[in-house]
Amino acid sequence: MPTITYAEAIRQALIEEMRRDPSVILYGEDVANFGGIFRITAGLKDMFGDERVFDTPISENALVGGGVGAALTGLRPVVELQFADFLFTAGDEVVLKAGMWRYGHGGAYKIPLVVRCPSGATGVGPEHGQCPEAFFMHAPGLKIVSPSNPADAKGLLKSAIRDDNPVLYFEHKLLYATRGEVPEHEDFTVPLGKAAIPREGDDLTLVAISAMVPKALKVAERLAAEGHSIEVIDPRSLVPFDRETIIESVKKTGKIVVAEESYRTLGVGAEIGAILLENALEYLDRPLRRVAIPDVPIPTAAVLEAFVIPNEEKIYQACRELLS
């Protein structure tokens, strides 16, 4: 199996799906001639022509709302937002249009729309560095995926494009250059709604999302050296959410830490905590621990950003606290 980067995996998924289905189109700011500000779509305009791959004005509401209109009328648009934060710019179109058009019209239409959302803190401050998945988990009608490695990046994007519902696809900017083995064949997909267990263990469940997954795996390695067996769970999809895998793991370990790059209040960890309170309270022998951004915007200066973004040391300390 070839080893490629997360960025290349996204690009492969786009190319394969555009070849497979002529109704897939791709557009956004600077995606065609420039190839995207993160270079994901370089060369795609030449491959597929400028009706299927095109640059747009700076108009996030029109981009996402246009995607809804195109999806209603038979296309499968993939819209690139330059930063996940711009979901808020297009908030009405994301939450009220993409999420609710089908429901409000009694299921008369399908909305096969993918919005690609580059996420994550990279020294770019409060409005270009967020992982805002949790905001949109609260919005009915949207599917949400956050791949943590190249194979999932490819497989989940292919599933998202084939899905007949709106999917917010969060691609973490710090993962673009990471490498991993990725199946080449066109039929490879990763189903939405199925968690992965990249490391099995018995003593503690460590749920990690997106760029927190590689950090969690390093922490698990370090704790293994100290004699602790950590189970790492990567939900991959936040909507639909694979509750069962987490519940089953906690039944085995009795302890759970959630590491995420969301704000702490009502983040993904808060939802996981509620799921466990409802379904597995009697199995928890220690309180849940959340490693998340304290409820402040993301600062720009590296020293400040590093202070608020979860890192290996913070995840390690949270685990140690429960294991002691």
Partner: protein, 322 residues
């Protein structure tokens, strides 16, 4: 406009007017709930513009009244069932009368937030262009809604991509309680077309023939791949913003002045003068319309409410592209 088309538009205007009168009675009598923004006074432009459409074109109507759906040919009992939140409508009780939908005739539905229609219209235009079709999108909106940022984004995008969208502004002088001259920096909404380098035209929205001609020209232009147009139809909202609006923000004199320009009797008189309509045929039309409405109301009354647990359906489609 040929004689048959004139009569057809007249009948649809009449049916729309009588249907809204009946809906207002039903709401005032507490017989249906519903959230209805009447379009009384604006039926001429709505029916005439929609008469330019082919069956395979797309429609994004605005929130003002029933005439869009009547003109497009959606059965009126379905409209009443949506109003009442019953089975037998178009949206299974999910969207009320603001979200009448009819995929068979390209009726895409409605955005609950004003101005949500513009990006959707541009997107439908993108589909048409990508597929190489010669369909068009008609997108209706009010003068107040033209102040949403989505208008700017979507009209500009449509212009630069040459999308086949006809933007039809119903300028009725009022955005709920806000008069256009206080909300809007231009006198004519059509002047905004210059900002997008597209054709913009203002017509008398109470004259169905003028509206038909202007929209037809824009539709033909769009079909040829020459891009979007903006048509402003000057009209007036003869009733309140919603059924039950106290209308304490405008004078009785102003409203009475506009009742004298009501497009329905005006068009009726024109057809009488042209000999297309007689007192006898007019009375027959009235009787037909009332009978159709009676029958539709009866149908609606006999329909059940949806099963409560169906509230959990229609969030996601279970299908995929395979």
């Amino acid at each position: 406009m040929d004689n048959q088309l004139k009569l057809d538009i007249y009948r649809k205007m009449l049916l729309s007017r009588r249907l809204e009168e009946r809906i207002a009675e039903l709401i005032k009598a507490g017989q249906v709930g519903g959230f209805m923004h009447p379009g009384v006074g604006q039926e001429a432009l709505q029916c005439a513009a929609i008469a330019t459409m082919r069956p395979d074109d797309y429609l994004l109507y605005a929130h003002r009244g029933v005439a869009y759906w009547v003109a497009r040919g959606i059965p009126i009992e379905k409209i009443l069932c949506d109003l009442a939140g019953k089975e037998g409508g178009t949206n299974r009780g999910k969207g009320g009368v603001m979200r009448v939908v009819y995929p068979e005739l390209g009726v895409l539905g409605e955005s609950g937030t004003l101005g949500g229609c513009f990006p959707i219209a541009a997107g439908a235009g993108m589909s048409i262009k990508v597929k190489g079709e010669d369909k068009v999108v008609l997108c209706f909106f009010g003068d107040g809604t033209s102040n949403r940022g989505t208008f700017h984004e979507a009209v500009n995008l449509s212009a630069v991509r040459r999308l086949p969208v006809v933007f039809i502004c119903e300028n009725n002088g009022w955005a709920v309680s806000m008069p256009t001259e206080r909300s809007t920096a231009v006198k004519d909404i059509s002047a905004r077309a210059a900002g997008y380098n597209i054709p913009g035209k203002t017509v008398d929205g109470n004259d169905p023939e003028a509206v038909y001609d202007a929209v037809k020209e824009a539709v033909e232009r769009a079909r040829k791949g020459l891009g979007p147009s903006l048509i402003e139809c000057k009209t007036y909202r003869l009733w309140g913003h919603w059924v039950g609006d106290p209308e304490n923000y405008r004078s009785r004199e102003e409203v009475e002045k506009h009742w004298r320009r009501d497009p329905l009797p005006r068009f009726e008189q024109k057809l009488l003068d042209e000999g297309l309509l007689t007192d006898k045929t007019r009375a027959e039309f009235e009787a037909e319309v009332r009978a159709a409405i009676d029958k539709a109301v009866e149908f609606m009354r006999n329909q059940p409410f949806p099963k409560p647990e169906t509230a959990l359906e229609d969030v996601f489609s279970e299908s995929t592209a395979g």
